[in-house]
Symmetry: C2
Subunit: 375 residues, 2 copies
Amino acid sequence: MISLAGGNPDLSGLPLEQLGATAARLIEEQGLEVLQYGAGSGIDPLREQLAAIMRRAGIEADPHDILITAGSQLGLELVTSLFCNPGDVILAESPTYVGAIGTFQGLEAEVRHIECDDDGLVPESLERAIAEARAEGRTVKLLYTIPNFTNPSGRTLTAERRASVAEICRAAGITVVEDDPYGLVRFDGEPVPAIRANNPEVIYLGSLSKIFSPGIRIGWVLAPKHVRDRLQLLCEATIIHASILSQHLALEYLRGDWERDLAASVDRYRERAHAMLEALPDAMPAGTTWTTPEGGFFVWIELPEGYSADAAFERAVDEGVIFVPGSGFLAHGNAPRSLRLSFSGETPERIREGVARLGRAIAATAGTEHAPGTE
Amino acid sequence: MISLAGGNPDLSGLPLEQLGATAARLIEEQGLEVLQYGAGSGIDPLREQLAAIMRRAGIEADPHDILITAGSQLGLELVTSLFCNPGDVILAESPTYVGAIGTFQGLEAEVRHIECDDDGLVPESLERAIAEARAEGRTVKLLYTIPNFTNPSGRTLTAERRASVAEICRAAGITVVEDDPYGLVRFDGEPVPAIRANNPEVIYLGSLSKIFSPGIRIGWVLAPKHVRDRLQLLCEATIIHASILSQHLALEYLRGDWERDLAASVDRYRERAHAMLEALPDAMPAGTTWTTPEGGFFVWIELPEGYSADAAFERAVDEGVIFVPGSGFLAHGNAPRSLRLSFSGETPERIREGVARLGRAIAATAGTEHAPGTE
C-alpha cells in the first residue's frame, strides 16, 4: 500500500545513534533532573533555543513569553480554552487542519471558513465573514491561520496579505492565532516573515514535530505576557508540564547541527513534492486543479464535475494507494470532489506509482458524483 | 533550607545507567518508531503492563479500556471535561489535591468538600452533601477521591467505607473518580483493594510519577469502554498522544526489576515518615494533632487554637524550613491552623531538624491566630 494519506514527517535523516547517546548521557548524568518534575513554563535554555528558531521567521521574542507545551496541539487547545466561550465564532482557512476543527468544536465554538486562493486566505472574504457574524449578533474571537504551506492545501499566505489580515483583525478586535509547524520546511520560493514578526499581539504556535520529532511531543506558544501567564496556569492544570526528558533531548538536538539534518529533509521533501506535481497532469482527469506548495507536506486536489473523491477512496484502496478525502477539513458541509495528498512519507518512485494508481481509481468514478460509494 | 513542602518523589534509587542504556537502545534501534507519531490510545504493550500493575490493587482490567495520558493530571482534566458542565458540583475530600481543585474550578465546576476522619471520607457526610446539593437544585456529577494516603492529609479510606462510598454514589447516579498515584507507595499496614476492584463503573486514574518518573509524564485512565473511547477523542484533541519515547522508556522499565527499586524507595519513605512522626510530639505545641500515614508522601497537621500556620510560614523560612499552609487544599474558605508536611524528599536527619525548626516557628505564632502575618 502506498500512503499519500499520512502527515508524518520523514525521520530518516535523524542522527539516531547520536541522539541515543545524548539520551543516555542525559539520563545517566542528569537523571535526577530530567526524570523529575520541572517548571510549568518549560526549561529556560530550551525557551532560548525556541526564540532563536523564531528569529528565522522574523520574530524577535523574549524567551519569557514562550510557554513550552506537549505539542502545539495543546497550545491550540489552551488558547481556545482561554479565549472562547461556547457559541463564539472562530474563523479559519477553507480547508483547514482537521485537528484544529476538532479542538474548536470540542470547546463548542463555531468554525466558519474563509475563502482561499493561491495567495492564501482572501482578506475580503475575512472582512465579509466578520461583518456577517456580527450582523447575526455573534462574537468572533479568533482567526486561526496556518500561513505557511497550510494543512491540507499547501497554500502560503503572501506577505501583503499577512499585513492585511493582521490589520483587519486588529481593527476588529479579533486575536490572530498563527500556527506555523511547517514554516522551516520550505523547499521552493522565498521565506515570508511570520505574521507575528510585525504584529506582537499575534499568538504564535510553534512545533518541533516537523523539524525534529513528533513522538517526543514538544511545541510552544509565544504570546503577550499577560496571555502567556494565563496559558501557563491552564497548561499546569492540564498536564503540569511537558516531558522534561523530551525537553532536554530537544535542547541538546537544537544545540547541535540540526540545520544540516533539516536541509537534508527539505531536499527530500522537495524531490517528493516535485515527483507528485510532475505525475499529476498525466494521471488526473482533464479539468482537475491542484495547489503547488513551496513547502510542507501536502497537495490539495479538486476534481472536475462528475468525479467523486469519496467514491474514489475505496477504489484507491483496491489499487493499493490511500489518501484523505477532503470533507474532513471542513467544519460543515462537504467537499466531495476534493482530496488531500501527502508527499512527506514516500519515495519519489512510490509517489509516482501512487499517483498513477490514484488516477485510475478516480477515472473509474466518472459519473458517480451524485451517488458516491453506492455502487 | 529544608523542604517539607514539595511532593517530589525520591528518584535516588532509579538505575540511571541502565535507563540511559535503554533510552539509547530505543532511539538507536527503534528511533523511527519512538520519535514518530503514534496511536492515540497509547502503545499496546504498555497498556498491558499497566493492567498488570492494577492487578496489585485488585483490579482486573482489559488493556483496551486503558487510555495512556501525559500524566494523570491530564486524565483528570479529560474526565472532568467529559462529565461536567459549568455549575455542576464535584465532591471531594476535605482537604484535597490542589491540582484537582485547579482543574475543577478551571472548568467552572463547584467543588464541595466531604468531611474526613482517620478512616478517610465519612459516608454520612457524603450522603448529606449529595442531599444538600440536590435540595438546592444542583447537579452532582463526580466524587473525586484519592483513597490511598491522600494528598495532602495522608489518610486512607478503609475497605468498608470504600464499599459504602461506591454504593452511595451508584445509588445517586454519581460517577466515582478514583485517583491513585500513591497506592503502591505503602510502607505500613495492609493494602486495601481499589474502589474500582469491586465497582467496574468507577473511573480509575493511575500514574507512573510516584513509582517511576514524573518527568516523563505518563499516567493512565481506566474507564468503561464507552467512556474511554470518548476520553481518547478528547485526549487526541488536546495532545494527540503522550510522548512515544516516554511510553517506550516506561515499558522497558516496567519489564525489568522495577519492584526491587520500588521496595527500596518505599523503605526510604518509611524511614522518613517515621522520622517525622517521631519528631512531631516534641516539636509541636500541646494540642496539635496530625495524621499517621501508612504510605504516600504527606502528614497533615492541625494546630491548636491560638496558633497560625499562615503566620508560621514566614518565620519558618527564617528558621530554614518550608512547608505548605493548608488553605490551598480547600476550594473555598481557609484552614489557617492547618499545614501539609512532606517527608518524601529529605533524609531522616534533615526531617528531624526541619520539624524542630518548624516547631520553633510555630511556637512563635502563639496568640497570632487572629492577625496572621500582620506583625
